[in-house]
């Protein structure tokens, strides 16, 4: 379902991150670095796909919903979310 969106977003992500050759399609490329994360909920509030789950002390991306749109990366105040060109293990 989200594969189409993922592919479309990928192009923008690739331009933005300047890594045309390396990145793969169809897999999760957004990585929340939990050691840096402050659990502030900024990314949850802006996520258009409702793909981030924030509990009391853990945060994770719901793989089936994420479209790799990268908005959470830009909105993170403390740089705790990164674009991972190799894909993130789920």
């Amino acid at each position: 379902m989200n594969l189409m969106k993922r592919k479309r977003n990928l192009i923008w992500s690739l331009i933005k991150h300047n890594m045309f050759r390396q990145a793969k399609t169809g897999i999760l490329l957004i990585d929340i670095i939990s050691s840096k994360c402050d659990l502030c909920g900024c990314c949850v509030g802006i996520c258009p796909e409702d793909a981030i789950e924030l509990k009391e002390s853990e945060i994770f991306i719901i793989d089936e919903r994420c479209t790799n749109c990268s908005k959470c990366i830009w909105s993170c105040p403390i740089e705790a979310i990164k674009f991972n060109k190799d894909g993130v293990p789920v």
Partner: protein, 387 residues
């Protein structure tokens, strides 16, 4: 703990506590579900509030007041300080105690509070919302309710499950980081606001005094800015320049949805309040007072709707909120858009002409006059605030 309550409130912040209190006051049964272990912690806030904003809901108590404010200082990019004096303008709170006390006022009226309860879904009975699913100490549980009040903050998801579009466009999200540092040598009764493209583009940097020589120093930048440079690096730049040796006691991050309120803040069986409904003053980013107001309206209307057994009554929440603050926030939003487009040069000009006025004539009004002179299109918007 019962299986069924009249009103279920998600989130025990100022909006949630007020919603629970005003609903319980009317005699309906209320439960608050809070995901964190403590009410009021972690604090994600600059903690400043106007005097009128607190006094409407809770009598002033010294134990949650960290500083009393009677002056604002607006600092231009070149370092000119435009100081404006007010009578009794407001307070800097100790939020971890304040939120706790607010929740206690709800509990006093008979609301049940359950912490460490993470709401992860809604229960439906056909199309109708019939309660919430939550995780409590690793166990999946359910509680039935007639009305759900979603006061789950900026990371709100409850209303989305009910089919409302509630996510914030990332451009409208003010991404904030704040540190509480000690040994900050500032006036203990002044709120400082710093503006400028190199300090906080599409936002501002604040230095709010707290008791014992501490201060909340934070920065909020627009979401578009975050693409190039994060809020954290703006704050680090400022701290390195201004207070390189100040010990940092706490550091937090957070988002402020700085837009007007959502178009639709109630749906059958659900009411949204506080940050979740974006009941935030978009100009200042302040959300404690407006969250409490939103929560109190939500709680009262939910209770009335239960008592009268009229599910449609909750739609009057939208109207009541818009009359109380919603329309005002829309105007504030337009002023914000005007101000955020100011260049550094313009800020410097405004501050310089403001400082030329004799000391006793400096007021918010004269500042506005100067700002208007620099950007006449603001006039229409400002006029709307006072009419």
């Amino acid at each position: 703990l019962k299986d069924e309550y009249d009103v279920i409130v998600v989130g025990a912040g100022p909006a949630g506590s007020m919603a629970a209190r005003f609903a319980a006051e009317k005699g309906v049964s209320v439960i608050i579900l809070e995901k964190d272990r403590d009410v009021g912690y972690p604090v994600r806030c600059g903690e400043a509030i106007s005097k009128a904003g607190v006094e409407e809901f809770i009598p002033i108590d010294e134990k949650w007041i960290s500083a009393k404010i009677n002056k604002f200082a607006l600092v231009s990019p070149d370092g000119c300080e435009a100081v404006i004096e007010f009578g009794d303008a407001g307070y800097v709170l100790e939020r971890r105690i304040f939120d706790y006390e607010l929740a206690k006022t709800a509990a006093d009226k008979g609301a049940v509070i359950l912490t460490k309860a993470y709401v992860n879904g809604l229960l439906f009975n056909g199309d109708k919302i019939a309660g919430v699913k939550y995780e409590f100490r690793g166990e999946q549980k359910e509680v039935k309710g007639k009305i759900v009040i979603a006061a789950d903050g900026v990371e709100s998801r409850v209303a989305r499950w009910a089919g409302l579009q509630t996510y914030t466009d990332f451009r409208d999200m003010e991404c904030c980081v704040q540190v509480t540092a000690s040994n900050i040598n500032i006036d203990p009764n002044t709120l400082y606001f710093y503006f400028g493209e190199n300090i906080a583009p599409n936002g501002y940097l604040w230095v709010f005094p707290k008791s014992g020589g501490c201060a909340n120093i934070g920065v909020g930048v627009g979401g578009m800015v975050g693409k190039k440079k994060s809020a954290l690096s703006y704050l680090n730049d400022f701290m390195d320049k201004k207070y390189p040796d100040a010990p940092v006691l706490t550091s937090i991050a957070g988002g402020v949805p700085s837009t007007p309120t959502l178009k639709k803040i109630s749906a059958p069986g659900i009411i949204i309040a506080g940050d979740a409904a974006r009941q935030v003053n978009p100009l200042s980013g302040g959300g404690i007072a407006s969250g409490m107001i939103g929560g109190s309206i939500a709680g009262r209307i939910a209770a009335e709707s239960v008592i009268r057994n009229k599910p449609d009554h909750i739609f009057s929440y939208d109207i009541e909120w818009n009359n109380r603050l919603g329309k005002r926030h829309e105007t504030f939003n337009r002023i914000k858009n005007g101000i955020y487009n100011f260049s550094d040069e313009k800020f410097n000009n405004i501050a310089a002409s403001f400082l030329k006025a004799p000391g006793n004539k400096r007021s918010l009004r004269s500042l506005f006059t100067v700002a208007l002179f620099n950007n006449p299109s603001l006039l229409i918007d400002i006029a709307k605030v006072f009419i």
